[in-house]
Symmetry: C2
Amino acid sequence: MEQSPARSSSVTVADVAREAGVSKATAARVLGGYGIVSAKVREAVKAAASALDYRPNELARSMTTGRSGTIGVVVGDIENPFFSLAVRGITDVARLAGFNVILSNSGEDVAAEKAAIRTLVAKRVDGIIVSPAKEGDVEHLKDIERSGRPLALLDRSAPSLNVDTVIADDMQAAEGITRLLIGRGHRRIAYVTACDTPDHVFHSLDDIYTDSVRRRIEGHLGACREASLTSMEEWVRVGANSSEATRRIVLNMLQSAERPSAIIASDSVIGLEVFKVARELGLTLPDDLSLVSFHDADWTSVTSPPVTVVQQPVYQLGEAAATLLVERLNGEVGEGRRVVLQTRLIERASVGAAPSSGS
Amino acid sequence: MEQSPARSSSVTVADVAREAGVSKATAARVLGGYGIVSAKVREAVKAAASALDYRPNELARSMTTGRSGTIGVVVGDIENPFFSLAVRGITDVARLAGFNVILSNSGEDVAAEKAAIRTLVAKRVDGIIVSPAKEGDVEHLKDIERSGRPLALLDRSAPSLNVDTVIADDMQAAEGITRLLIGRGHRRIAYVTACDTPDHVFHSLDDIYTDSVRRRIEGHLGACREASLTSMEEWVRVGANSSEATRRIVLNMLQSAERPSAIIASDSVIGLEVFKVARELGLTLPDDLSLVSFHDADWTSVTSPPVTVVQQPVYQLGEAAATLLVERLNGEVGEGRRVVLQTRLIERASVGAAPSSGS
DNA sequence: TTGAAAGCGATACCAC
DNA sequence: GTGGTATCGCTTTCAA
């Protein structure tokens, strides 16, 4: 017992075959679970395998079969509850379908995303799911297709890519929020997002390279136009990509002479920061400031007041992306499919009427 | 351009070698970045490689070198902010050290954990980090060691395993909390944890198979004994492993005749549920109920009142585990090391004096 | 410095 | 049914 081989085992099919007194091919058949073998031989091989403590080498198997049983996932930040929930959806589906997941963080940086994908392809993953940092910069994603591997896009589409894509109806959601706010009398509505521009100022939609973010701003501005509100672009704030940056942006806005009466947060991490800053400044929600956030994060329902949010089907987003990918892996062919999941506005108590002093 | 090979590339070193007019071995040397090659030949090979759009096959490389450049991570639930933050710490360190991460969810189920580890070993990951579901059931973890791969334990130790382990000082943390509560006059202090027992009732410490949880309860009960409080075991509630279960347990306790005046939540997911139930029942924190939660989750600081928590160095826990593992991978040998990271009590406003009606 | 050839551990094709 | 053997793409002696 004591002398169990401390050295890496490396018991191979050949060893098992020898022990069982059969050929390597036969042993491989039972160990690999393919081909036809007599019951008697099968038992003998199995016995030999467990006696030797045989461990299959997936690497070798992958090399001959061409399938690694692994899918690669590249997201912006696994620490963000949005992505960790989506990843949970992906891993659940993957496991059920017999796949493992290699997870990479891009930090929303295209260079890192590129490197991650290069590695994933080198590792011969069977397929890849990515949440592209920039919809315009997708040459590396086309490479995936060229390598013959299926690709699925999560939460963000890329117009130039004809691949399976799963997104939420961000535009309608944003429209809905903005209409709600306008209906309550708000005119000075700020939109805060993590996406950044070179000069950290929003000029036009063309500045926004992250698809889901652009669709949201598009919906928001559309609803504004619809209500004949002009120059609302000035109220769009970009660059909230860390809690410090968000804090700075929000503080700045809220302390200026003409401060917004309502803020839309593009994700729950931003929403949380807005909530903190507002409280720090002694602003009362919703009397002094209205707040709506994307993503029904756990905390949004326990604050005082609880926060009105856009509930996104995050887990399902991951599930759907993984499902589409697995279907491709199982032979599905044809045009890239586009799945749009519905969001739902959950009205809580962070939205109130605009102060009458306004416009 | 149009006729770029749609078929899986499969440009191999042999192809590059041919194109460059050198031997396979030479081409492999420059492509693999090892051995000595003349500058001239190196350039020729590189040119040929990019002309052919050569993509290395890590699988084949791994098979000969024996290293896959991958580490496996098995956690209870990536969706839990505790683990997603720890995983972020792991992936950051791994990436810097040149490793990828294969992520598996065990769902705190030993069978799933076993299966995940089996797969990971089959895939020949270089090392594994796991947060064992049960400290007693670790035969499969010993297997990892037997396979010659380093193993590191995250957040939970296993006495029978002499491997690198990174944990927080849960026992002291729990002691601190309980002393604080007792000092404020509390006598009916409930402890709610996700860990379950066969009959869903806590009898003794031996029931608790998850190391970190046991250390916490141990600290808690120790502080109780210290203050001559007896039968505090009756106030320990197990089985809060889903929001529904937690809700049921907490509702039950809080609606009983003799309800606790303070609750300790073993993680932030439980803490959130306690908060929700308390509010639902119209209980005011901290007047009607005091609450302390483990894990300084984002929401704990924005509630009214904000919640007193044990701040755990979660990201650092992941970082440290990955660092220890990488060191092993780089040749470090010897006894398993044990790293204990300090926690810190963040006093906010969810703890108050016990109602005078008590004992 | 470069080349030829032997593995690594499985699968798969083709006879028997 | 079972066995022999080429093969996958790369690394790694060992000679030249």
